[in-house]
C-alpha cells in the first residue's frame, strides 16, 4: 500500500505512460474513473431523492452511459468549446465541470440550483464551462448546437461544439436540416449520437429503417463512425480525431456511440420493453466502470487508490444532497424575474 502511495506521488512529477497502447497514464485513467464514479453515485442519489419526492416531474438518469460524456470531455477546451445535449443531461454537466451541489439543488428546485430552481432536471446551463443545456424537446438541441458551432465559425475562433443526442432524436427532421447546413458551411460541429438502443420504450430496430446511425450523415457527405460507448478510451480517441478535423476547418463529424442505459427512460418507466437478462448481461459484461477498473489494474493502480476516490466521491455527493435539501426554495419574488433581460446599451 505504501508503495502504491509513493508511486502516486512520484507520478505527479513525471506522468508515466502505460506500457500498453491505450495512450493514457495511470493518472489520466484515475481521472476518468473519478468522473465516471461521480456520475454514477450522483445519479443513484438523484434516483433516491426522486423516490422521496424531493425531485419532481421527469428525471432521466445517465447510469450506464458514463463513459460517453467522460470520453468526450477529454477533448473539450473548457470555456472555449461548447456542449449541448437533451434532457438526460446530469452526466454531461458534472463532467463539464459544473458544481454537483448546483446540479442537485436544481433537481430539488431550490434557489441554489444552477437555474435558481426555475429549470429543473432537463433545463440547466452554465456558460463558464460551456454547457448550453439541457433541452427538453427531442432533437431541438441539434439545431441549437449547430448554431453554437455556427457562432464559432462566424467568429473564426477555433472553437468546436459538441452536440449530443440519442437514437430517438436521430429520427427527427431538424437533425437532418442541421446536418445539411453544418456540412454546407463546414461548421465545427461534432454530433455525438448516444445510441442506448431505446427511444423511451421503442427499440432502435422498431423505430429506424437503418440502424447504423453513424451513416446518417452520408447523404450530406458527413463522415461518421461507430464507437464502443462503454469504453472510455475508445470514445476519447474517436472524439479526438473528429475534433482535430473540425478545428482544422474540415467540418462536422458524426460519432455513433453505442451505449446502454441501465435505468428506465425516466424514473417512472419500468422498462418492460427489454428483458432483465439483457440488462444484467450488459451490467455484467460491458459495464464502463468495470472496464476502466480493468485498465487501472493493468496500470498498477492499487485498491487503496480507488477506494480513496470512492470515498471522495461519496463525500462530494453527500454534500450535494445536503445542499440540495438545505438550500431554500426560490423566493416568490423570483417568479417574475428572468422573463426578460434589460436592454444592453
Amino acid at each position: 500500500m505504501a508503495k502504491a502511495a509513493a508511486q502516486k506521488s512520484a507520478s505527479k512529477d513525471a506522468p508515466q505512460k502505460l506500457a500498453n497502447d491505450i495512450g493514457a497514464s495511470k493518472d489520466e485513467l484515475l481521472g476518468y474513473y473519478r468522473e465516471m464514479v461521480l456520475i454514477r453515485r450522483f445519479e443513484e442519489r438523484a434516483g433516491q431523492l426522486y423516490g422521496m419526492g424531493l425531485i419532481g416531474g421527469f428525471c432521466h438518469l445517465y447510469i450506464g452511459q458514463e463513459a460517453v460524456a467522460v470520453g468526450v470531455q477529454a477533448s473539450i477546451k473548457q470555456g472555449h468549446d461548447r456542449i449541448i445535449t437533451g434532457y438526460r443531461d446530469h452526466g454531461h454537466m458534472l463532467t463539464a465541470g459544473m458544481d454537483p451541489k448546483e446540479v442537485m439543488a436544481e433537481l430539488t428546485g431550490r434557489i441554489g440550483g444552477s437555474s435558481k430552481g426555475k429549470g429543473g432536471s432537463m433545463h440547466m446551463f452554465d456558460v463558464p464551462t460551456g454547457f448550453y443545456g439541457g433541452h427538453g424537446i427531442v432533437g431541438a438541441q441539434v439545431a441549437l448546437g449547430t448554431g453554437l458551432a455556427f457562432a464559432g465559425w462566424y467568429r473564426g475562433d477555433d472553437s468546436v461544439s459538441f452536440i449530443y443526442f440519442g437514437d430517438g432524436a436521430a429520427n427527427q427532421g431538424q437533425v437532418y436540416e442541421s446536418f445539411n447546413m453544418a456540412q454546407l458551411w463546414k461548421l465545427p460541429a461534432i454530433y455525438i449520437i448516444e445510441n442506448n438502443q431505446y427511444a423511451m420504450g421503442t427499440s432502435i430496430d422498431r423505430s429506424s429503417s437503418t440502424t447504423n446511425l453513424s451513416q446518417r450523415g452520408a447523404s450530406f457527405g458527413i463522415p461518421g463512425e461507430q464507437v464502443d460507448g462503454m469504453d472510455v478510451i475508445a470514445v476519447r480517441d474517436a472524439v479526438k480525431k473528429a475534433v482535430d478535423r473540425a478545428r482544422a476547418g474540415e467540418g462536422p463529424y458524426i460519432l455513433e456511440v453505442k451505449t446502454y442505459r441501465y435505468r428506465g427512460h425516466s424514473m417512472s418507466d419500468p422498462a418492460k420493453y427489454r428483458t432483465k437478462e439483457e440488462v444484467d448481461e450488459v451490467k455484467k459484461t460491458r459495464d464502463p466502470i468495470d472496464h476502466i477498473k480493468t485498465l487501472l489494474q493493468a496500470a498498477n493502480a492499487s485498491e487503496d487508490e480507488l477506494k480513496a476516490i470512492d470515498a471522495e466521491i461519496k463525500a462530494i455527493v453527500a454534500e450535494a444532497v445536503q445542499f440540495a435539501q438545505e438550500s431554500p426554495e426560490p423566493d416568490p419574488s423570483e417568479l417574475y424575474t428572468d422573463v426578460y433581460t434589460e436592454a444592453a446599451q
Binding site: 422521496m52 424537446i137 447546413m181
Partner: protein, 463 residues
C-alpha cells in the same frame, strides 16, 4: 443505520403496493442491487438500493397495499459516512404545506409586479417616448421595404455580431427585396442564404444567439415560420427563464405576416396573437415606414428575442422617414395616430391604415374617432389605450387575425380591467371572419376586415 423509504416512481404517485422483496434480513446489499418490486397504478417497478449495508429490518411486509410514499420500508446497517437524507415531511403534508404557501405567497408575488399591471405581460417601467425629431429634420419618402433594409444595414454597420439569414436573402436580394444590396455591402458571411429549412435555421439562429451573436432570421413569410415555432417559443422565449437568467437569446425573427392577396389559406394568416401570448418574447408589428425602421433597429439591439411582424401588402408603400441619425422607436409604446373624442379604435400593422380611413369617413358624419396604433403587442401599452378610453368612453378593436382569443380580446380585457366604469357601451371587435381565408376574390373580400367593417362597428358602439 439507514432507512429505506417507499419511493415515488412517477410524478403523480402517492402510494403503492410493495409487491415483492428480493432481500431478507441478514442480506448484504450494495448500491444498484434490486431489493424490491413496487406496484403503482401504472406499472410494477424495481427498487434499487442506493446505499450498501446489511438489511437489519424489513418494516413493510410483502404484499402490503397503499404504502404511502416516504414510509420507511426497511432498514440497513452500514457506514454512516453519507447517511440517506431524511425526507422533510410525508409527501401529503408537504403538498398541503406547499399549497398553503402558494396561497400565502401569491399576493406577495403579485405585489412584485409593476404598478397597474394585470396578470399578463410585463410593461416597461420607464416612460417610453418616440425620439424627438428636430424641427429642421428632413423627411424622406421611403418605402417600408427600404426602411427595413436601412434599419438592418445601419445595425450591421454598428455591430459586427449582427447578421441576416434566411431563404433568398442574399443573392436573390430577398424574396420581397427587403434585403436588397445587403450582400454587396456585408458579404456572404453576414448575409446568408439558407436552404428551405425553417425549423433548422431558426434553431441554428437561436443557438448562435445563445453563443452571443445577434441574428436576424428572416422567414419568407410567417406562414412558413410556423415550421419553426418550437424554436421561437421553446428555445428562444423560455431559455432565459429556465436558465435563471444565464442564457440570453438576442435574436430577431422577421418577415411578412397576415394575408397577402389571393394566395389562399395556408399563405394568409396573422400570427399576432399567437406570439403575443408567450412570455419571454417581444412582439412588434409596425404600420408606417418610420416605425418600421425605428422599431426594427430597437428590435435588433434588444437583448431579448423579438418577433417582428411585417405586412406583405405594405412593403411598397411610401411614408415619411426622418433623416436623423440612429432613429430608434422604443418597443412597448403605442402611438395615437389620430385624436378624437367619441370612440377609441385600436389597431396594428396594416389595419391602422384602415382604421384611419374609417375615422375620416366617420368624421364626415360627425363622429370623431381616436386611432391608436398598438405598434408593440407584447409588452402591450395598455396605459395609452386606457387613457384614451377614459376620454372617449367607447372602444372598437380592429385586427386582421381571427377574433377568438385574439389581440382585440386582450385589448378589451385590459380596458375592462382598468377602465370598466368609463365604458358607456360594450366594446366591439373587428377581425377576420372565423374561417380559413378563402381563395375566391369575393369570399376573400368578405372574410377580411376593412374600412367598412370598422365604420359599422363604430356606429354600433356610439349609437
Amino acid at each position: 443505520m439507514t432507512d429505506i423509504l417507499m419511493p415515488a416512481l412517477s410524478p403523480t404517485m402517492e402510494e403503492g403496493t410493495l409487491s415483492k422483496w428480493h432481500v431478507k434480513v441478514g442480506d448484504t446489499v450494495s448500491a444498484g442491487d434490486v431489493i424490491a418490486e413496487i406496484e403503482t397504478d401504472k406499472a410494477t417497478m424495481e427498487v434499487e438500493a442506493v446505499d450498501e449495508g446489511e438489511v437489519t429490518e424489513i418494516l413493510v411486509e410483502e404484499g402490503a397495499e397503499g404504502v404511502k410514499v416516504n414510509t420507511p420500508i426497511a432498514r440497513l446497517s452500514g457506514d454512516d459516512a453519507a447517511p440517506a437524507p431524511k425526507a422533510e415531511a410525508p409527501k401529503d403534508d408537504a403538498k398541503a404545506e406547499k399549497a398553503g404557501d402558494l396561497e400565502k405567497k401569491a399576493p406577495e408575488a403579485a405585489e412584485t409586479r409593476p404598478e397597474g399591471e394585470g396578470p399578463a405581460p410585463v410593461t416597461p417601467k420607464k416612460t417610453l417616448k418616440d425620439p424627438e425629431i428636430p424641427a429642421d429634420a428632413k423627411l424622406v419618402k421611403t418605402t417600408i421595404r427600404d426602411a427595413l433594409r436601412d434599419a438592418m444595414a445601419e445595425e450591421m454597420r454598428r455591430d459586427p455580431d449582427v447578421f441576416l439569414m434566411g431563404e433568398e436573402v442574399a443573392q436573390y436580394q430577398g424574396a420581397y427585396k427587403v434585403s436588397r444590396e445587403l450582400l454587396q455591402e456585408f458579404g456572404d458571411k453576414r448575409v446568408i442564404d439558407t436552404p428551405i429549412t425553417e425549423h433548422g435555421f431558426a434553431g441554428l439562429g437561436v443557438g448562435a444567439a445563445m453563443a452571443g451573436l445577434k441574428p436576424i432570421v428572416e422567414f419568407m413569410t410567417w406562414n412558413f415560420g410556423m415550421q419553426a415555432i418550437d424554436h421561437v417559443i421553446n428555445s428562444a422565449a423560455k431559455t432565459l427563464y429556465m436558465s435563471g437568467g444565464q442564457i440570453k437569446a438576442p435574436i430577431v425573427f422577421r418577415g411578412p405576416n397576415g394575408a397577402a392577396s389571393r394566395v389562399g389559406a395556408q399563405h394568409s394568416q396573422d400570427y399576432s396573437s399567437w406570439y403575443a401570448h408567450v412570455p419571454g418574447l417581444k412582439v412588434v408589428a409596425p404600420y408606417d415606414a418610420a416605425d418600421a425602421k425605428g422599431l426594427l433597429k430597437s428590435a435588433i439591439r434588444d437583448p431579448n428575442p423579438v418577433v417582428f411582424l411585417e405586412h406583405e401588402m405594405m412593403y411598397g408603400l411610401e411614408f415619411d422617414v426622418p433623416d436623423v441619425e440612429d432613429y430608434l422607436v422604443p418597443i412597448g409604446k403605442a402611438k395615437v395616430r389620430r385624436e378624437g373624442t367619441d370612440v377609441t379604435i385600436t389597431s396594428h400593422s396594416r389595419m391602422v391604415g384602415f382604421a384611419l380611413a374609417a375615422a375620416e369617413k366617420l368624421a364626415e358624419e360627425g363622429i370623431e374617432a381616436e386611432v391608436i396604433d398598438l405598434r408593440t403587442l407584447r409588452p402591450l401599452d395598455h396605459e395609452t389605450i386606457v387613457e384614451s378610453v377614459k376620454k372617449t368612453n367607447r372602444l372598437v378593436s380592429a385586427e386582421e387575425g381571427w377574433g377568438p382569443m385574439g389581440v382585440g380580446a386582450e385589448v378589451v380585457a385590459r380596458v375592462i380591467e382598468h377602465a370598466f366604469d368609463y365604458l358607456d357601451a360594450p366594446p366591439l371587435r373587428v377581425h377576420q371572419e372565423d374561417v380559413p381565408l378563402p381563395y375566391a376574390a369575393n369570399l376573400e373580400a368578405l372574410s377580411l376586415p376593412g374600412v367598412d367593417k370598422i365604420v359599422k362597428a363604430v356606429k354600433a358602439v356610439v349609437a
